[in-house]
Amino acid sequence: MPNRSVNSVDFWRGIALIMIFIDHVPGNAYGNFTLHKAAFCDAAELFVFLAGWSISHATGGPFSPQSSGRVLIRLLARAIEIYRAQLVLTAIALAILAATSLLRNNPIFLEWHNAGPAFYDPVRTTVGWVLLTHHLWFFDILPLYVVVLLMAPAFVILARRNRLAALAASLALYGTVLTLNLQLPTWPGDSGWFFNPLAWQLLLVLGFLGSEYAQDSARFREIARLSVPGAAILAGMFTALTIWGFDPDPLSVPQPRFFFLIDKTNLSPSRVISLLALVIAFYPVFPIVSRYIGDVGRWICSLGRNSLAVFAVGSLLSLIAQLFRFVVGGNLTVDTFTVVLGIIGMGITAWFVEWRTRSPSSR
């Protein structure tokens, strides 16, 4: 992995990781320059779409597809790896909140980000967060990722036989979930999953299918190339609507309402279309960027290459940044300081992972 050359997936995933870090410090002045301010979707959609794109490569791609058994084991192993990261992250996040509460002598930190049940109802909540039925806010992307990865083998195996059937199955599940408002349960508490995996699987499947077609279909690449101007106009319209503050009222839209809202939990179609328009519009950008990639571009790619470790450290750093901002107050200096330190921390993480992989002592 560390020797992988710079590529568009790692580059855009690196960008998504930086944006997720910034967005996870609410009120941060730099949050005005991330994707959610210019589109109906945000970096989370991009991250999941690119995860689907990577699955195609990780499972052999269309030219040398792995066997169904190998696909199953590979994706299960990845799901377990992410599950393990989620447990460690949750434990550390709870400890950070508890320590802050002790240091500041203020119980409010014990209730931050849905941590309250872990401290006030620990018996049930310990079972809950280990089973991924209780999530801390801002630490809820990895549980989504675990569930969609557990679903992924079925879609990958089906797609390797018939891509349109896989797309139809994914769309059917998505449509049913949005129509019937189906949710995975949370416990304790019934707040529901912030990212509904039954809906978000669509992005993973679209990413996977996009990648497969982009690799083996000249016609698909040609259609994508011809769609760039239209997609750019569509993306521009979404930007204008977002800046204008367009947000449909859930009591005014027809039923089933999730089809007509900009709902993040259930990934409303407007968010999917917004992301796809951006993906197509920016598809030709990386080949141009790669010519002048330089150290910064290579460094962004290194973040994307080591996405799990970088995301995990970034999540913890964003929590620390939130707490720091809360205690000292928010202003441009504080925001600049925390964002710069956070991004440096993510960079050091990527370097460390690659150094450890290269180091003979780790073998």
């Binding site: 203020n106 014990l110 209730e111 309250g116 109802d121 408002n181 009222d249 859930p250 009591l251």
Partner: protein
């Protein structure tokens, strides 16, 4: 006098309906409507007192904002939907069991006050949530539950988080206006009382901000802070707080539910009074 007039109105209504060739179901509805009118008239004559353990020197609510949608729901004899939005006090942190939380107690209190009415209190409490978070999820929760009334416990976490008061007021006002536009009744409940926070200037400012917004937007407000301060003075803080000395205990939640129920009853009585004024001055006297 009030009861006699209410009875007379009820009998007259029933008599008129019975004289018409209505279905048995329609007749049942007519009788039930009369019964609801009677119950409201009785409550107007003698508002339900707080229980002995929760008794305070003045009512916990202010004003008599009409809860029209609640009155309509009662008169239509359908399940009355109440959405309880808030933070840890709504989710019940500190209660000994889910049955001791304020939304569950509120449901029982309202069903006790309005005999034969099915009240469904849906609790959507998110511990630690600030007002901005509640404002942004309010539309989603309302679209899902379709309540007649929203009981919104708000401000404690904003006060402790030292949230910007101006921004807090703006978001609260905008959300209350959206609820009013959609004909959903609202009762606000102000922050928790804890002695060590009572002297905190920002905490007090936030309580005043909620009071100002409630007055500007003409919504019913439960002064939980004042009511609990009164109770604390009488019984000591430990009587109403959980062992963490911050969240309410079972008695605290019971009293909170009683104060909310008192405000809701006052709002329904006001709505009934307004309706009778609209239908004729002589009938308005019935609930004076």
């Amino acid at each position: 006098m009030v009861r006699r007039m209410a009875h007379a109105i009820a009998k007259l209504s029933v008599g008129i309906f019975l004289a018409c060739p209505l279905s048995a179901e329609a007749q049942q509805v007519a009788v039930a409507m009369a019964t609801v009118d009677q119950q409201i008239a009785t409550l107007a004559k003698a508002p339900p007192p707080y229980s002995r353990d929760c008794r305070i020197t003045a009512p916990a609510h202010e004003g008599r904002t009409a809860l029209r949608q609640m009155r309509r729901a009662l008169k239509e004899q359908r399940v009355v939907k109440v959405l309880a939005v808030g933070s840890s006090s709504t989710s019940g942190v500190g209660a000994s069991s889910p049955y001791a939380t304020y939304p569950v107690r509120l449901e029982a209190d309202l069903e006790g006050l309005f005999k034969g009415i099915d009240v469904d209190v849906v609790a959507r409490g998110v511990p630690g949530e600030v007002g901005l978070g509640a404002c942004s999820r309010m539309k989603r929760e309302v679209a899902e539950v379709r309540p007649d009334l929203v009981v919104w416990q708000v401000g404690t976490n904003d006060a402790m988080a030292r949230a910007d008061v101006g921004e807090f007021k703006l978001n609260l006002s905008k959300t209350l206006q959206w609820l009013a536009k959609n004909h959903i009744d609202v009762v606000l409940i102000d922050p928790q009382y804890v002695e060590r926070l009572a002297a905190d200037a920002h905490y007090v400012t936030m309580i005043k901000a909620i009071e100002d917004v409630a007055r500007e937007e003409r919504v019913m407000l439960v002064h939980r802070f004042s009511a609990m301060a009164d109770l604390s003075k009488q019984k000591g803080e430990q009587a109403i707080l959980a062992t963490d000395r911050f969240h309410l205990n079972d008695l605290g939640y019971r009293c909170m539910a009683e104060y909310a129920a008192g405000a809701i009853v006052a709002g329904i009585i006001q709505a009934q009074s307004d309706a009778l004024v609209d239908s004729g001055p002589h009938r308005a006297q019935a609930v004076q």
